[in-house]
């Protein structure tokens, strides 16, 4: 079998697995409708709600059909879109339809599309920042193992890992927002409006997320690099008279690319599901905020839609990691 064909088959297998996972998550999140002691139609119908009106609303929302038909309609809506009601009152929810909020009179997909750039801005910036700082600190700690710099960084990383986001966020707001008055304490400016304002408003959320998540990268990098630098091929690299900096980067760090890339991809996936607390602390309306508001209002359509979208992001990130392995490590992904 050719290498390319083997890779394709491997990718197809992983894709099938990813779809299966998504199906399970969709079914599970859909089950919330039935497990919660709420009647979505009742919530949507409002007060006062006559029994006739309730039946009408139920039929409109599709709640009068059996559960499997509802699940089927929901899933099919993601692929092909769906229409609620009929005639003049019909509402069309275009594909991919993640549900429709009767409370906000908008489909969940539009709500997500509106919030996604915000969350994406937070996620990408924070991820970049913490990868660079976290990995960099890990490298320094590993190369200065046992010395003062190592102990300092490791001590700091314990603080970072254990500090809660809301505490660090509030302390930052207190210090840089109020006391020093150098950074805005919240809000969001779209990148298209003003790149400077965009970055300026996001510096604090990025930093807070980086402090909390970067510490894990520092620990991973330090541990893995110490291990790799003890391997035989490092001695070979030194035995040919390579400069130590080249030994560390070309042979040490090159062997860390796989574990670090794995972590980055998975973290990116979970960040897209929203950074609920950080968004709340800095008053930014991202996907996390959408979810939080929906939970407060018991807007189940949005909850299910956002949950499924977050799961989709994580599963796709996993899938990307699986595909990346083959490209990043010559020993993997070449089924003979």
């Amino acid at each position: 079998m050719s290498r390319a064909l083997g890779y394709l088959r491997f990718a197809a297998g992983r894709l099938g697995g990813a779809l299966a996972v998504l199906l399970v998550i969709a079914a599970a999140s859909f089950a919330i409708f039935y497990l919660l002691p709420n009647n979505p139609a009742q919530l949507s119908c409002g007060k006062p709600c006559t029994p006739d009106r309730l039946v009408e609303v139920q039929s409109y929302m599709g709640l009068d059909r059996p559960w499997f038909a509802q699940l089927g309609a929901f899933l099919w809506g993601i692929v092909a879109g769906r229409t609620f009601g009929d005639g003049a009152t019909a509402i069309h929810c275009a594909a991919p339809c993640f549900g429709y909020s009767f409370r906000l009179h908008t489909d969940v997909t539009s709500l997500l599309a509106e919030r996604l750039p915000v969350t994406l801005s937070i996620a990408l910036g924070a991820l970049l920042l913490w990868t660079v700082v976290g990995v960099g600190a890990g490298v320094i700690a590993a190369l200065r193992r046992g010395r003062a710099a190592d102990r300092l960084l490791m001590g700091a990383s314990v603080l970072g890992v254990s500090a809660p986001a809301y505490l660090v966020g509030l302390l930052f707001i207190l210090l840089f927002g109020f006391t020093l008055n150098v950074l805005p304490i919240g809000g969001y400016v779209p990148l298209s409006e003003s790149p400077g304002g965009w970055a300026f408003h996001l510096i604090m959320p990025w930093t807070v997320l980086a402090i909390i998540n970067g510490a894990i990268y520092t620990r991973l990098t330090r541990g893995s690099l110490i291990e790799v630098m003890g391997m035989d091929f490092i001695r070979t690299a030194r035995s040919i008279g390579l400069k130590e900096s080249a030994v560390v980067t070309r042979h040490g760090l090159r062997n860390l690319v796989v574990p670090i890339a794995t972590l980055v991809a998975l973290d990116f996936g979970s960040l897209l599901g929203g950074t609920v607390i950080t968004e709340k602390v800095f008053a930014i309306q991202g996907v996390g905020g959408l979810l939080l508001d929906a939970v407060n209002a018991l807007d189940l359509q949005i909850i299910v839609g956002v949950t499924l979208f977050a799961a989709l992001a994580v599963v796709l990130a996993n899938f990307a990691v699986d595909l990346l392995y083959g490209a990043l490590d010559p020993r993997i992904g070449a089924p003979s």
Binding site: F233, G241, L242, D329, P330, R331
Partner: protein, 600 residues
Amino acid sequence: MTAPEPVLDVRGLSVRFGAHPVTHDVDLRVREASVLALVGESGSGKSVTALSLVGLAGGSAHAAGSAVLADGTQLVGAPPEVLRAVRGLRIGMVFQEPMGACDPMYRVGRLIAEALSAHGERVSREAARARVLTALRAAGLADPERIARSFPHELSGGQLQRAMIALATIHDPELLIADEPTTALDVTVQAEILDLLRSIARERAVLLITHDMGVVADVADDVAVMREGRIVEAAPVEQLFAHPQHAYTRTLLASVPRLTGLGEGAEAQPEARVRARSEERAKDGPAAPHAPDGAAASNAQGGARASTRPPQPAGAHAQGAQGAPRAEQRGEDSPAARLHEAVVVHGGRGGTRALDGVSLEVPRGTVVGLVGESGSGKSTIANVLVGQQALTSGWAEVAGTRVRPGNGREQRRVRARIGTVFQDPAGSLNPRRTVGAQLAQPLRTHTDLGHGAIRQRVAALLDEVRLPAGTGERMPHELSGGQKQRVSIARALALDPDLLIADEPTSALDVSVQAGVLELLRELHDERAFASLFISHDLAVIEQIAAHVVVLRGGAVVESGGAEQVLRRPTSDYTRELISAAPVADPIAQARRREAARAH
């Protein structure tokens, strides 16, 4: 032999790690176009000595003394930048395990090209490629383009070691340090790599670090024997082997297992005994439960050592040890282990055949030696017998019971009838429990002995493997490699098994320790008359212990028969190749064999 300018002149070199001294006053002179072998057992300081010359002994290593290259460059105490310039350009290095020594992320050609440009030399892509290919071809690789394109894991150990030699010599250094370059390789591959080293040594000096006296005899011109950080003897190779001056050198030479009847000169006394023994066994035939002389000797010993087992004829004692529920299991006529047409295929249809129709039998009370190179299926057979590997077809049985993976009652009971000893004694003992607790474990699981009885059995077991009584209270890390392996043996024998599977049990040990462990296994076998499947790549070791030998290659049996017949009058070419590839620890005999092999 007194060349005026040695390529490397080491005088009074002492290395310490922090406050802990490792080597003392080492003197070495490596002559031009010759091989100096630095020989010693593990921990003797031979690698540290070589690595400290180029500043690679580790951050906490401090060297004192003098080490001068031919042009007067002083290596000891030289600043790191000077040593870095020496590495690769003037001193090349080859290490033990080629797979570990290559960065798995890069193609082999790229690794060699990196060595080419490591010292700031500006080389065009094409020129670099051409030089890499030339170097690979010079290292004896017929298909350099493919090798350069390959990642390390796509090549065999031998190909990779040749590539590493190409890498180490790309700048045509005046000295090549080879640190156990063939230890991780199969014998036939080792022979080829040693040939390559010999041809390299025609143009430059080689400092060869090894523990293997056969390798020394094969390639060295001069030898320095190292022990506990000191050079105890240094001499030209013929002189050292013919007239060893130091007692340690003599011990080292005496403990090397040798294949007998290979046309060596005067035979050492222990060999004569081994030969007598193996002839004895061969005469008795494979079904003979024990060698009578050995049993008599050990019975006399057994009485003196107050074993819990009263001395008795070996045949009778197979009926069962104290308290172990076993008599019912013993179909006396079924062999200890049997494989019939065993096939193991990995990776589904069209996958690799790890075992390809192997049939073999381990008669009761007999040691069967299983010989072969890596990938021959030796360890797969062991895994099948202990139920860790399912057969694709065919069957396997131990003491008359079919074995298969799974944890049912029957399978657990069969497994209690098998003792296993593995290569790495440190890895097979639990580092956090005392030796005594680990020996008691199988007794507690598989017998209904009480506390006191178990304690007695543990003490008796320790005594049987010649360990002092206090060993039971000690932790594995407090023991030496040889002692740990004795504990493993005691554990394997705790339940008085029908079958002992010993998978390369002495391969990780130094020769002098190996000799002791082999002697112990032989004595225990004579005392207890268990059957044993003894797996080894080392024919000389096999000859010392096995009555019957099975030679495996690529998952199939190439040859089998009495040890005497297979090892002295082999019928297959492959067995002959194996025998001739293993270097003998005698430079004159080895040179003669080499000539003979070349003439072939």
